[in-house]
């Protein structure tokens, strides 16, 4: 077994050598980060606008989602069928999506249809029609999907958890929206959303594929040049999750309970972010090797899926975990999760675990660059996170720099087992349904 090869060897395999990130700035001042790759005749573009679902007005929860789903349903002189027909005829993928903090767009095209694909993106961003038929049709689809989600354990658990953790804050609401909110959105609201939210000053762009920086610069001006300079101002307060150690139960007639657990995490720009990230890998982030996987699944067969996730937002951060477990074994599962949380807080990690985690996290970094879409997405994430254009070269160094002392010092302060909040959706034995 050659299992303990030094980490240095892994650094040699960094993608930075194969992947060169260029900063492209157009004459009009539009910036994109580009990885040129002429292997295949295709181009993938990913874009983001800061400020999305969390800014939905109180009575119109789901506005950003409805806007994202209707932006490609007709623009300029092309109605919905003409616009979608153009995309299909050229096999161009164009999609938009709204999260809490960020509005995302994705374009993928063959090189031969490049200019027309970018023209369609430009039309969607600057001249969406929001005709009545497509808006009502998409609205009906979103309402149907919300009805479906309303009895899905995962969705109920997540909504319950966010309501519990962020009372009075926009993060309490899901960017998926609500029945009433989606019904209340008008076509004027959609038009206003586009004018106020899609601007140059909150835009980030990542591009990968068969395009030169010169051609991209020209396309950037044509596509984004006439967006408004500035998005409408917005402010969301910072918030600490209201973790309490409570267990909330939502009744649902399913044989398996969904168990969510959460506590505060570290934001992306926190100086200890990577130390926390490594700790979470050891606790529940590491696939088949994490402590939670071993104790909950391998040893006791309590669940098929179990894990924990570092989940930073713009204005808060969570450490969130989940498991699916038979109703009669929920209490046992919760007990094991709490015990593991406590063990990490009290005893920390040992040198071998830390070394294994660092070997995995550095060695697996190149795996993320598996296709053009993934690379474009990473380029956008780097800009959103303020990570710097040389991030790909530096990233493994941040992981390497995590020491055992720092990890165990952070484990003591970061992990708060007594305040871990649980949400259970199902018919768990021996747990009472709470009022919420």
């Amino acid at each position: 077994m050659s299992r303990l090869l030094p980490a240095l060897l892994l650094l040699v395999a960094l993608p930075a050598q194969a992947i060169e990130v260029q900063r492209v700035v157009s004459e009009g001042g539009i910036e994109a980060w580009l990885v040129e790759d002429h292997t295949n005749p295709l181009i993938a573009l990913q874009l983001s606008f800061r400020g999305a679902g969390a800014l939905d007005p109180g009575g119109k929860s789901g506005l950003a989602r409805l806007a994202a789903s209707t932006l490609d349903e007709g623009a300029g002189d092309l109605d919905s069928q003409a616009f979608q027909g153009r995309l299909d005829d050229l096999a161009v993928t164009l999609r938009f999506d709204a999260g809490r903090d960020t509005f995302f767009g994705r374009l993928k095209t063959l090189t031969e249809n490049r200019d027309e694909a970018f023209r369609l993106l430009h039309l969607a961003l600057t001249a969406p029609r929001f005709d009545e038929e497509p808006v009502e049709r998409i609205r009906s689809q979103i309402l149907a999907s919300l009805r479906r989600a309303s009895t899905q354990p995962q969705d109920i658990a997540s909504r319950t958890m966010f309501r519990e953790l962020f009372p009075g804050h926009a993060y309490a609401r899901s960017s998926e929206g609500t029945q009433d909110g989606v019904k209340a959105v008008t076509r004027d609201d959609l038009g206003a959303f586009v004018k106020e939210r899609l601007a140059k000053d909150n835009l980030a762009i990542g591009v990968t594929g068969d395009v030169t920086s010169g051609n991209l610069a020209r396309l950037l001006d044509q596509t984004f040049g006439d967006l408004p300079e500035k998005a409408a101002p917005w402010a969301l307060p910072e918030i600490q999750p209201a973790v309490s150690g409570k267990t909330l139960v939502k009744d649902l007639a399913t044989p398996q309970s969904r168990v969510l657990f959460a506590q505060g995490g570290l934001k992306r720009d926190h100086p200890d972010f990577y130390t926390g990230y490594v700790l979470n890998y050891i606790l529940g982030g590491g696939g088949f090797s994490s402590r939670l996987y071993g104790e909950v699944r391998e040893k006791r067969g309590l669940a098929y899926s179990v894990g924990s996730y570092f989940y930073p937002f713009d204005h808060t951060a969570l450490m969130l975990g989940a498991a699916g477990t038979a109703n009669e074994r929920v209490s046992e599962t919760i007990g094991v999760v709490k015990a593991e949380w406590k063990r990490l807080a009290v005893k920390g990690v040992n040198r071998e675990e830390l070394n294994d985690a660092k070997l995995h996290l550095t060695g697996s970094f190149p795996l993320r660059f598996s296709d053009s879409d993934s690379i474009a997405r990473i380029l956008v994430a780097m800009q959103l996170g303020g990570l710097g254009i040389d991030f790909l070269e530096k990233r493994n160094g941040y992981i390497e720099a995590v020491t055992l002392e720092a990890a165990n010092a952070l484990a003591k302060t970061l992990l708060t087992p007594d305040k871990l909040t649980f949400v259970v959706v199902g018919k768990p034995d021996g747990l009472k349904a709470s009022a919420r």
């Binding site: 063959l110 354990p153 067969g301 294994d356 060695g363 598996s370």
Partner: protein, 457 residues
């Protein structure tokens, strides 16, 4: 839809497989084939496929076995998938969990999956660590240690997996019932994960016998994609896999499906249902049943009438008549046994499933009398062919597609000539395929309804 409904870790893999259905192969204006793989065969009969892709110093290493849920003995449903889970336990030289620990330490990611037609294992890892995972994958092909101690906790994990994927989800329960109704005799009637009472009853001896019979190099395919060539891989393949003796595992024999004679209805009313849905599935030809020309045409048909926002069913039912929130069609051309052609729709509020069904039947009748529109056929071909170029961009689409094809007994050529075959599908062939499948009255119609609402959508 592919019949991959069970895998070791939740999440990622299903998405990849759905990709494979749509990208089931690929074309390029500048190259003849799609993935342009190199192939060779080891002396023990193990097939090897190499797809070079040098973007990053990473490889995707896969071993596929020509065995799946359809090969399970009577009364032993779920055994193929159970064994897949157990392959991560110990071998004669590795303790339980050591395999995964080693993959993780070497910066790799791994998983496995079971379908009706095949079982597969894979690791994605830096190319300089390839040898480590090849050694371990070869080791567990024959040296697995199985006993009650490792099997029992895993049985609970699998029961939880079944609850999570199926029992917790009314539409998944209905899907399972539809499969068991459409296929009256072929083993596709059994769910890949198995029936609960049979999963509970599987013994150590059952699983060992299944493993001994099917897990052998002559019944396996090695696919490596990424920063490597066949010349570089060959010595490693010979060293680790080439030394394993072949086993006479016998032919894969399955009950065949008789022509259906009656229409059947399957209905599920469940208190968890908030959005009703309707579907109809027809028994359909496939490449596996030797009806390749029909299969190619059906692939174009499914895209033309039910592929997306400009397809015929969506336009008719969702946009023009405003009866549905969604409508479409589905078809998998490459199944080893008979395939299924599906139609589906979900109603807008206030529209009953009866109304929706009637409208769908009218549209199908129109398609059968008027034929599919020539522009719709053209657009469908364009979309399918462009997907080929997109598939080449991905590190996973190539090994997925080629591995699945070879595990089902198809040739590399079957995949590589796919664009030419799709290009050659004419409107007449699409119309003929539609008549061949959709004129049958002996389909299975499924409805999913809220409980206690009088069957109204």
């Amino acid at each position: 839809m592919p019949h991959i409904d069970a895998c070791r870790r939740p999440g990622r893999f299903l998405a990849v497989l759905i990709l494979v259905v749509t990208l089931s192969a690929a074309s390029s204006p500048c190259r003849a084939g799609i993935f342009n793989p190199e192939t060779f065969t080891l002396s023990n009969g193990m097939q090897v496929v190499v797809i070079s892709n040098h973007r990053v110093p990473v490889v995707n290493h896969m071993v596929w076995y020509r065995v799946g849920a359809i090969d399970e003995p009577p009364g032993k449903s779920g055994i193929a998938h159970f064994l897949e889970h157990l392959m991560f336990k110990g071998t004669k030289t590795l303790k339980p969990g050591e395999f995964s620990t080693a993959v993780a330490r070497n910066g790799g990611r791994e998983n496995a999956f079971t379908g009706h037609d095949y079982t597969g294992y894979y690791q994605t890892i830096a190319v300089d660590r390839l040898e480590t995972v090849m050694r371990m994958e070869a080791d567990r092909m024959t040296n697995l240690v199985l006993n009650a101690k490792v099997i029992e906790p895993e049985r609970n994990v699998i029961l939880e997996e079944r609850r999570q994927r199926t029992d917790n989800n009314p539409s998944a329960i209905l899907r399972e019932q539809v499969g068991a109704t459409l296929f009256m005799n072929h083993p596709y009637r059994r769910p890949v994960i198995g029936w609960e009472h049979e999963i509970r009853a599987l013994s150590v001896e059952d699983i060992i016998a299944f493993y001994r019979r099917w897990y052998a190099p002559n019944n396996a395919i090695l696919v490596v994609a990424g920063d490597i060539t066949a010349e570089q891989l060959k010595p490693l393949a010979e060293k680790y896999y080439g030394i394993i003796p072949a086993v006479d595992n016998g032919p894969r024999l399955h009950e065949s499906e008789p022509p259906p004679k009656a229409s059947r209805r399957v209905s599920l009313a469940d208190e968890r249902v908030r959005q009703p849905s309707w579907s109809r599935v027809y028994l359909a030809p496939s490449h596996g049943t030797g009806q390749g020309a029909s299969a190619d045409a059906l692939e174009v048909l499914a895209e033309a009438i039910g592929g997306g926002a400009t397809s015929r069913l969506y336009k008719a039912l969702v946009i023009d008549r405003k009866l549905a929130v969604s409508a479409g069609a589905s078809y998998s051309p490459d199944t080893l046994g008979p395939s299924r052609f599906g139609l589906h729709a979900s109603p807008r509020p206030g529209v009953s499933l009866e109304t929706l069904e009637q409208a769908m039947e009218e549209e199908v009748a129109n398609i059968l009398t008027e034929g599919v529109g020539a522009p719709d056929v053209e657009r469908a071909r364009t979309i399918l062919l462009a997907n080929a170029v997109y598939a080449r961009d991905s590190l996973t689409a190539g090994p997925q597609t080629l591995g699945a094809a070879l595990a089902r007994g198809y040739s590399v050529d079957h995949v590589e000539t796919w664009p030419d075959r799709i290009r050659a599908v004419t409107k007449d062939r699409v119309d003929a395929a539609a008549r061949q499948v959709l004129s049958s009255d002996a389909a299975v119609t499924a409805t999913l309804l809220p409980k206690g609402k009088g069957g109204k959508g």
